[in-house]
Amino acid sequence: MEQDKLREWEYKCIQEEPPECTATCPLHVDARLFVKEMGRGDREAAFKVLAKSMPFPGILARICDHPCERKCKRGEVEEPVAIALLERNCVEQATGKARIQLLPRRGQKIAVIGSGPAGLTAAWDLLKKGFGVTVFEHADRLGGSLRELPECILPREVLDRELAVLEELKADIRVDEVIDATAFENISREYDAIFIDRERVEGYELPIKRSSGGEISVDAATGATECEGVFAGGGTRRHGAYSPVNETLQGRKGALSIERFIQKAQMGAGRVNDGPFTTRLFTNISGIASVPRVRPADTAIGYSDGEALAEAKRCIQCECLECVKACLYLERYEGYPKKYARQVFNNERVILGAAHTKNQFVNSCSTCGLCEVVCPNNFNMGDLCLQARRTMNGQKLMPLSFHEFALKDMAHSTGGRFALSRHEPGHEKSEWLYFPSCQLCATSPGEVLSSYRYLREQLTGGVGIMLGCCGAPAFWAGRDDLFRETRDALRNEWEQLGNPRVITACSTCLNLFREHIPDMAPVSLWKILEQCGLPLKTCEATGKTVAVADPCITRYDRDTQESVRHIVHLLGMDSEELPSCGEKAECCGYGGLMYNANPKLARDGIARRVAVASSTDVQRDYLVYCAMCRDNFAVSGARVSHLIELLFPNVEGGDPAARGWISWSLRCSNRARVRQGILQEFGEKEEHVVITYENIRLEMTPEVLRRTDERRILEDDIKMVIDHVERTGKRIRNNRDGRYLACHQTHNVTFWVEYTPETDRFTVHNAYCHRMKIVGVKQ
């Protein structure tokens, strides 16, 4: 990933964008944080937040016209948070003074003419920046229009106390000074720049261009007048729209412009967000209960402490996190996409000899795309992670363990035990080609064979069959080389069969073929069944209600989702819609190879989903149409049927939903069963080359079976160990109970088996494995 690509990714995620209140505030006060501190009862901390952005916080917090409240998101629920009242409550009690960090003195002197809010702010900012400041005011005291505010709003004592800070900052205060043209000339010569508070110069004879309304003309963005080094702002009161905070902004703008002028820096650079702007932040307010604004018992005093606390707690604390709310994976890693993009970027940087972090993070995403749907900007973590996986593979830095088992399983599906492609018997051409998928054959071998028979009955022109894997595991592992190899091999086979129309029983295959071999014009089995009509002997399910769980891959395939629901109704059942359905479908944990790279996350994910369904009164059976969904729901203990089990029931009167989990070993032998079943039906004989260990018979208790399966140890792996060991005699004996313990190292994994040989079989007591290679005993 290059820098500019990183910027693109980061830009999409708006989590760090300011909330409405801050964006609208001309000074960008962090009102969200301020209200949070008030909600915690920490007035000192709250005051610090104000003091960070506000000049004279003791004044402004009392008199601000709070444009923030107009945009407060709470206002869309019922009423905006009373930020202004909270500010008043804060500054009336907080004892902290604004701590002003002065920059070292620069030596330049600025003249501020007029001490209304704009002029005072300009003085404040310029003093903080290290400039010498002289304030000229024609009245006998500073403050301008501030002096005209009612005592109850801004007590004189507070005003004077706040303004005294200027003297602490070593400002040169000149009251009772009217500036005429001559004085102005002198000032222009003596000072390096001038800020004019327009509120205070009515009637002044200044050699500066004024508008037809009599106001000094300024550039709206910078406050520059036509005279070089002379800036002006404030005085909006003349238009009848007096906004203390806007006056303040004018002063702040002027100060910044003066600083740039003196430094001879670019006047306009980076000032797009000076003043109010519209934020890109999105905050979801649906589901927020309506709570009316707290009204002060005594409006003259404002909020009591209790009232302030209650009102502050109404604040939503705006942020986005829509994707994090929707996805356990994003929640688990305690960040959000913008942060994650940077982490992925850093993870890719190869430093000599340095280890990589975050490999598991990149490999834990299911790539289901739910984030894209809920994100206002369609950020897709899946794309980010897949890209990262490809890069890691390209640089040969992907630790094998993340995907090895899944790719091993895929190799079984593309290997001699399963892969097959044939025309329908008695046909030399195929109009159609059935691709039932490797995983559905593993889950429901009998039903697959039945469904193929049915297709041959219903469709003309010849329905061929192709057993194999579409390559999804390689795609998800970021192994482009392997994916392309698999896909190209499939395409060749398909072309050999005469480019038939492909029927897929799996939506992942459907999706991949559409994307990567579009000529196949693939169609889902469910659509075909809708058109042909359902088989006669479907299961007895009339009147039942099932919860349809769409696989995540059908997110944008409304068509297939509808077909499935139609079939469900044709079967006489009712379908209940789950929260995570349709476009919001969630992954069962198989997608993106999450189950291989991060099995705990996958388990927790499915557990969370199953818990949701049981929150309704009646626990519904799940109806799925993805083989891996069936398996994962079953492992978590839920009752679940695959649609194909209901359409082509294996056992009459059986209860597919009660079937439960099946082992990886059984999945492999089921696939082989499908291949053998087809060859048998076609009347083909096949010479099966028997590998020595296949004849070994194992005996395991259900508990041992389950444990070894969870560790992804296949029965074949166990047989290999025993076979190897029985031939070489390299095993260890437990003197106490006579059990044997032995190991065998394959490419990357060392398998251990604890067993006892019986007359015609081996009892397996335990099996485990590790990836660390034994080098040997050190002398």
Binding site: H356, K358, F402, R711, R731, R736, R771, K773, V777, K778
Partner: protein, 67 residues
């Protein structure tokens, strides 16, 4: 299955000798490691217990893959 006291309780079926605790070398992801484990000095057979394989070893492997 728990590991017994130092070396006792396990024998090598190839040579019949008892396993003794010895230094055993491992390698993974370009790193080299050593653990004291029951082993047969004659035949080079080594005993990695389930506890070690699924516990500290698995954790060490994860660190090497993801740290």
């Amino acid at each position: 299955m728990s590991l017994m006291e130092a070396g006792t309780g396990w024998s090598c079926t190839a040579c019949g000798g008892e396993l003794e605790i010895m230094k055993v070398g491992f390698t993974y992801m370009k790193g080299n490691f050593e653990v004291n484990l029951p082993a047969c000095s004659n035949c080079g057979l080594v005993l990695v217990s389930e506890e070690l394989a699924t516990g500290k070893m698995a954790e060490a492997e994860r660190i090497l893959e993801d740290k």
